[in-house]
């Protein structure tokens, strides 16, 4: 059995933590582009055109049935091939991170279209009508009435997606990305994997607390978005006097 030493765990931990930047980079980029794709898909689904609806549903089904690993390989090997010629050859020199971002944007596009639909449907039309009836403009109604409720409904799903993305992204080490897992494997490989168990412990100590932290963070966002639903004496007070003044002005 390999020896597990605290020294090695600390070595792998401190060596891999800086690579969190890479992880967050693809999470943020994929979330942005994925939401754009997802919004488009949602518009297609809710449009009257049958063709558009069918295409959007087909996209979601196909993506849902594809393992991330297979999609990752398809994009990594296929994108330069499909573009072809001079441009395709130049693509092969792109940083691996780009391919990872493309892959996960495709995935997030599918899941976010469902999240957006659920979020929109959860806000009754009466809410927007009420906003308009008290004299808010269309934009104001969206900004102060509809959007916070939509975001609040979508927040648990967004949180789950981000956490899933961080964990699934670890697979990108198979195409050579140095995110947290990739960096740890690289460091471990340099020592002929003699301290692999220490590396596993270090990785667990990075991923596990990170997930728990993100879960709490998104729950806090959810509460912050809907202060009127907060329970307890202080929240009730804020809702009436000070809060009332704050939200009116």
């Amino acid at each position: 059995m390999q020896k597990i030493t605290l020294e090695k765990i600390i070595y792998f931990f401190t060596g891999s933590v800086p690579a969190l930047g890479v992880t967050f980079a693809y999470v943020i980029v994929s979330m942005i582009f994925g939401t754009i794709i997802g919004t488009g898909l949602y518009r297609m689904k809710s449009s009257h055109s049958k063709v558009a609806g069918f295409l959007a549903n087909l996209y979601v089904t196909v993506v849902r049935c594809t393992p991330s690993l297979v999609m990752l390989f398809l994009v990594f090997y296929g994108l330069p091939l499909l573009v072809g010629g001079e441009a395709g050859a130049r693509m092969e020199e792109w940083p691996i991170l780009t391919f990872v971002c493309v892959t996960f944007s495709i995935f997030i596009g599918a899941s976010s279209s469902e999240i957006i639909r659920a979020a929109v449907e959860a806000v009754p039309a009466g809410q927007a009508e009420a906003g308009l009836s008290v004299g808010l403009s269309g934009m104001q109604t969206f900004r102060y009435v509809t959007l916070p409720q939509m975001l609040k409904n979508a927040m648990p799903n967004i949180g789950n997606t981000v956490i899933l993305l961080i964990k699934e992204g670890a697979l990108a080490y198979t195409i050579g990305l140095r995110d947290v897992l990739g960096q740890a494997y690289y460091l471990s490989g340099r020592e002929m994997n003699a301290y692999a168990v220490s590396m596993y412990i270090a990785l667990t100590l990075i991923y596990w607390p990170l997930t728990i932290l993100l879960e709490h963070l998104f729950a806090a966002f959810e509460r912050a978005l809907t202060p009127w639903e907060r329970k307890g004496k202080r929240a009730a007070l804020r809702r009436t006097a000070e809060g009332g003044a704050k939200y009116a002005g």
Binding site: M1, Q2, T61, V62, R64, C65, T66, P67, S68, L69, V70, M71, F73, L74, Y77, G78, L81, L82, G84, I166, K167, E168, A170, L171, Y173, L181, A196, V197, Y200, L203, T204, Y207, W208, P209, L210, T211, I212
Partner: protein
Amino acid sequence: MRVDLEFIRQALPDIAKYIPVTLLLVVVSFFLSFPAGALFAWINYKKIRGLSPLVRAYMSLIRGTPVILQIYVIYNVTPYLLASLLEHMGSSFNVYRLNTIWYAFFALSLSSTVTIAEALRAGMETVGRGQFEGGLSVGMSGPQTMWHIVFPQALTAAMPVMGNVVVELTKATSLAFTMAVTEITGRAKILGGSVLRYFEAYICVFVLYIVIIALLEQLFKRFEKRISVYRTGRHSRAKA
């Protein structure tokens, strides 16, 4: 380089030969994780002192780490532990001769256990308190009520999640090649690597996964329909 259609035509049947391995991984992992998930759900539902925090810690750990990390830990650490345990017991069984697919079953069922446990616990909570009391009042014991009254209803409530578990499990089997198990993704990697036609090889598995999952979902929908006879209030609703 251009897309080689001839290669796809030749590789597809070759890769398809490994579909039984993929299905075996799905089925065995599912039937390993279902009893464990049911047990965990029951422990969390009853909030059994001492066990419930342990189960929750396990669930949080599995949910908090990437599947690929779990696979590597299972694949690289358990053989050592098993070997030393067997040596301690005086057995001459050689762990390193064991087919690696056993580790794959175990590693893949870790995360589906957590999803199943969570779904069944939520299902149990939707079953009214009166159902349990009703079972006791007609003379059933606690475990009998649990098994004959609460559990079937919880299962029907958890059914949509079970379908998802099977889909997720099928997708996760693509990681089994990291444990030296040759299933469809592993075969595609070997074939594609031999002539550097990775894209074409992965197009084949891409198509196969879509077909497999679509079929499994159809199968599950049918099963769900059959099992829905246990749903609470179904008969009363039918009469009304």
